[in-house]
Symmetry: D2
Subunit: 376 residues, 4 copies
């Protein structure tokens, strides 16, 4: 596979607002105004204003509304949309976070690759998992293989060029647990809510394995969801009830792609790691010793980060109260905090900050990736 024989591609990212979780008018406008062809959309991420918990229906409400729009634009059935386009919703806009969609589409490049690497995107799925595989090494291994396929699809050869991997993974329900039990198998947990954490954790470790961040021989099943020393600096995983496989979207840079977008990432060591954010910005040639200026802010297309409370209840030797709050769940506090830290530097609040960061960055920290236009 060489660049010569591949049609030159470029990836486009549109960040658009929503007025409520069922409002896809701004996405519709992208289509109606000819900016984006529905056929070329590869993924849509959405930050919706729910609680991010079990009863956060804003995610499925947004997915359903997007599917309706896309089925109309693609001329396919509603059910045929998701196999074609990854729809990844993350609930929770605590603090000042602003609900928005990120529409990723691929175009034939108007210009050949410039030699500089440009934003590349690829997608792959695992086979469907058996319930007993979720949260265990089978899920890790299959996810790692899918990440490698998605890298191929993104024309990225070197793991170092991967900056962000979004994984949507399954969870266990009572029915699924029963199915396994009836076949004489055990599951990692019988509780739906906990299974989400195990599935997210195994998926993140799959990314870590694929990217060479963690050696698959270095851990076994009991470490999944428990050993906080194992993590990927580029994984972002979320669990959903609507699928039994892992869907993988890889974002990176590749010299085989055209366009003026680039992605960079870093790992926030804890929730206050402003230096990590500055590092990402500087990788993108955005001066960051002050809040970035309006022109640079306009160059930013997407900000993707994970947030979670540190397990020891402390941030730099000061007690936090996230884990003991029976009124507001800890992930809501964590998103608000990390959202504030990032928004302070970027001067913008439409940030895709999501919670549930098992094996995604160190305990209390998490990956952050930014996609920006090159300085014109």
């Amino acid at each position: 596979m060489t660049a010569a024989v591949l049609a030159p591609l470029q990836c486009r990212v549109d960040r658009v607002t929503m007025q409520h979780p069922g409002d896809v008018a701004a996405v519709r406008r992208l289509f109606d105004e000819g900016k984006v062809a529905a056929e070329r959309v590869i993924a849509i991420f959405g930050k919706t204003e729910g609680n991010g918990g079990v009863n956060d229906f804003t995610r499925s409400y947004a997915v359903n509304t997007l599917q309706l729009l896309l089925s109309e634009k693609l001329g396919c059935s509603v059910d045929a949309v998701s196999p074609r386009i990854a729809l990844v919703m993350s609930g929770g806009t605590e603090g000042g976070l602003s609900p928005h969609f990120l529409v990723f589409s691929i175009d034939l490049a108007t210009l050949p690759p410039s030699g500089a690497s440009a934003l590349a995107i690829g997608r792959a799925s695992t086979r469907d998992f058996l319930p007993e595989e979720i949260g265990r090494s089978e899920q890790v291994e299959e996810t790692a293989a899918a990440v490698r396929r998605a890298m191929m699809s993104a024309r990225i050869g070197d793991e170092v060029d991967v900056h962000y991997v979004q994984v949507k993974c399954p969870l266990l329900t009572n029915v699924r647990v029963s199915d396994a039990v009836h076949r004489g198998k055990t599951v990692v947990t019988a509780e739906t809510y906990k299974s989400m954490a195990y599935s997210r954790g195994a998926s993140a470790l799959g990314v870590a394995v694929a990217l060479g961040e963690v050696d698959i021989k270095a851990f076994s099943d009991p470490a999944i969801g428990n050993d906080v020393s194992l993590w990927s600096g580029r994984a972002s995983t979320s669990a959903g009830i609507e699928l039994m496989c892992n869907e993988v979207v890889v974002l990176g840079n590749s010299a085989l792609w055209s366009g003026d977008l680039q992605i960079a990432h870093a790992v926030m060591r804890d929730a206050l790691d402003l230096t990590a954010v500055q590092t990402v910005l500087e990788d993108l040639q955005i001066p960051a010793s002050r809040q970035i200026d309006v022109a640079d802010a306009a160059r930013i297309c997407a900000v993707l980060a994970k947030a979670e409370p540190s397990r020891d209840g402390m941030i730099r030797d000061r007690r936090h109260t996230m884990l003991d709050d029976s009124d507001i769940s800890s992930t809501r506090h964590a998103r608000a905090l990390v959202g504030g830290v990032i928004a302070g530097l970027l001067g913008q609040t439409d940030l895709f900050v999501s919670g549930g960061a098992e094996h995604q960055g160190p305990d209390g920290g998490g990956p952050i990736a930014i996609i920006a236009r090159r300085r014109g």
Copy 2:
């Protein structure tokens, strides 16, 4: 009044942790280890882990526990404590904010004033208000006069040297409303919760008038609580049921005080105004183009800020969801956001960020003041 005839004073600020709202062990240690004499404590501010709303009992729990400790140390009755020491609690440690007390005490200076100005503190109270005066011009005028007396008590002659004014003000209860009505008077509102906002607003305007930020002739009663163009950049006010007067604590710098502490302030124009925080740090000779380093962080003794959601539902043209959230009150979101913005730069979370910012900074923004030790 000249420096020559005044005993040289210095103000000490101790920022100590609490494990829960009833935990004053760290304050007790200040006394027991001889660091602070209870007789010299002038005010204690506390950031407690409640919801900051109507049923936030963490504030009164902390006050009661502090009164018990202080009555023991001062050898006075529990009821005699509050007239001697201003106890100001602010509930809400959303995001990563860390519960803590700020103990302000005055010592005879070990050294004469160096010529450089140092942190100065003063205190005054208004007379008790009648219910019908709360939220109206009488409260504004009396507060302005009390601020001027507190400045005298702080030996600050020029308004420009005042950097932060904390006011504790009364609210209306059913009993108080009835009292006014029985005397043929009207009150600004019959609802307790709203009366808190009016009282905070009138108190903040009193500070603004005293500091020359707003001309008292420029507005009349209907503007109180409503005209967001009128504000103080140095006021922080909170309403409590336990008093009928306004208690005022003024913090500023004065050449008549000794010691190595200084205070500076700025006004955050909106919740993302990182530049305002950097300005304050630079006024304190703390480099702020990166997250401040550990040595500089250790110089910081107190961070005092106000937070509130912008009324138009927008932050820099992006929608926020604080005002429409029926699960989490908007002030909780706002504290989490502003706490994150500030913590990102300071690398610390024990910040006294409080909500309810009527006439305290512009709509959606608020004052921020920092007390720090001079570079050694």
Copy 3:
């Protein structure tokens, strides 16, 4: 209009479960199994598991999903559904309340009217209101007229035979307020949230006027939303952003209808008024000195009630904490309480208990109506 010349009708009520707000599978089954013809559905009420507040998107999620199903079954566009079928969602299943749909449909009667009166249903709408009319006497009068038309549609001649009137009414948005202001008009309030209460209140008073419960000459605009002595014992109103008129559904008994369903109602004087519930049951020939038995429970098709906290903070001289709770909104507490009182007697939790009871029953109480099958 006489019974002789009218085709005999009967009203059918199906109470079906939902697994989440987007789950209309049980409604679909009614159609697919031939139990209900979509063309004959007149209204669907839904109790969804949101917070019942401003950001409760479970209501619109359910409406959208129902519209999609109904457009498919009716062979019409999605937009054409709501003018044909009243879709009324109420958010909030606090305590043990169970999410469910109530599907009201009309069939040609299989038997002529028996002489006994049977459940009757009718529907009507007002003209669209101007923003400045909302919450004011114009809305009251137009609603009263629409209730009378809906009674005609339900073939009910006597107000005493009306037992429940559901009204869906508009609210004010910034755009609507601006429109009025630009035309030199004032609105009852500029705040969206408050406008919902005024609109519900005016609509309930419209019902009260139509049913002869309140004399329209006895009050003027300032009483709307404020004078708790004015109320309907049969109104249930809810505000929604999607319409500018009032939609009215009247439920009652009529000798011109066939079938074995009947409706009865009473007014709960406060949240603990178990006697009112027993009265309704006894009107339906259901013994209620104990929790009703399984056979009688199976006869019940729908339970419709309003709940709200008493404004004085007391229930029978004991303090309640609903109004002071900054973590859980008072309407959520009220639904949980009233749901518990009713469920205790009925032994079932799929009750349509809704909040926001301005002028719907006395302060702290509300109407309750039950539809049940005649004893076989």
Copy 4:
């Protein structure tokens, strides 16, 4: 032990209101008006208006305030109060529940026992537990022994005369877990929150064993906290950080006591078990086919019940949403529901309904006990 040689005692129960968790004015009045002698108080239960969760500080706030009052009245130190008087606070007044204290005191009887049995109260404690014993059979056995001693103290010889056993039990903290680990021991769980459930469960099983409800040989450690078929119909247990032993208060009827108070109990099979409440009332000669009348309501001195969501997410085949609600914890929903069911029949809301019902009644149900005055 015979009645002849024992001084005749009688138990008094005062149910008094509180305006907030720090308000003990009504308890003080009992002392100041000579109704109750502080020396004779044996226990105070309190229902406070917190969230009943980890960060519910209303409980410790109330305890601290009570200790202060009692130390003043008893002439002892604050620390000496709790060993003398059991102070048991339960947070959460969801729905319409009303905050209140229940003051249990013992008096010398004014009249000899009448022959009819009267309310009897007794108290005992276990030794301090080692961390590794909590949630395990050692805690079960020691609790059972303490219940038997408390029965002796209450002069109750037959288990059938015991109607309610309140247990306050310890929990695990990081420090306590470390202590066990350092001694080479394992603990039942390292998580504080979960340890509360295990400790409550083991304590309830201890009551069940003492009262002959469960055979101690029928289960072993893994059943504790897991086997929902094992339960006491008379236990109510709550975990607190301030003790390492189990404190037991037994309430029952005994012919060796005087006075006109009696206690009865039943087990609610699920949250809607109104029949159980009626059974208790009828045991107390209170007609309950309607909401009880005002005269009978005035005879009731205390209502004690447990509430929890059923684990299968269903109430009588209808789905409840308590367990999936990430905004309001399930115990809050459960208290609101059970409070509503009971309040509907009793016409009063000052009910001590508490959550966390491991092994206290069947899954989704719980014990209910009522203390009432004999019909005069």
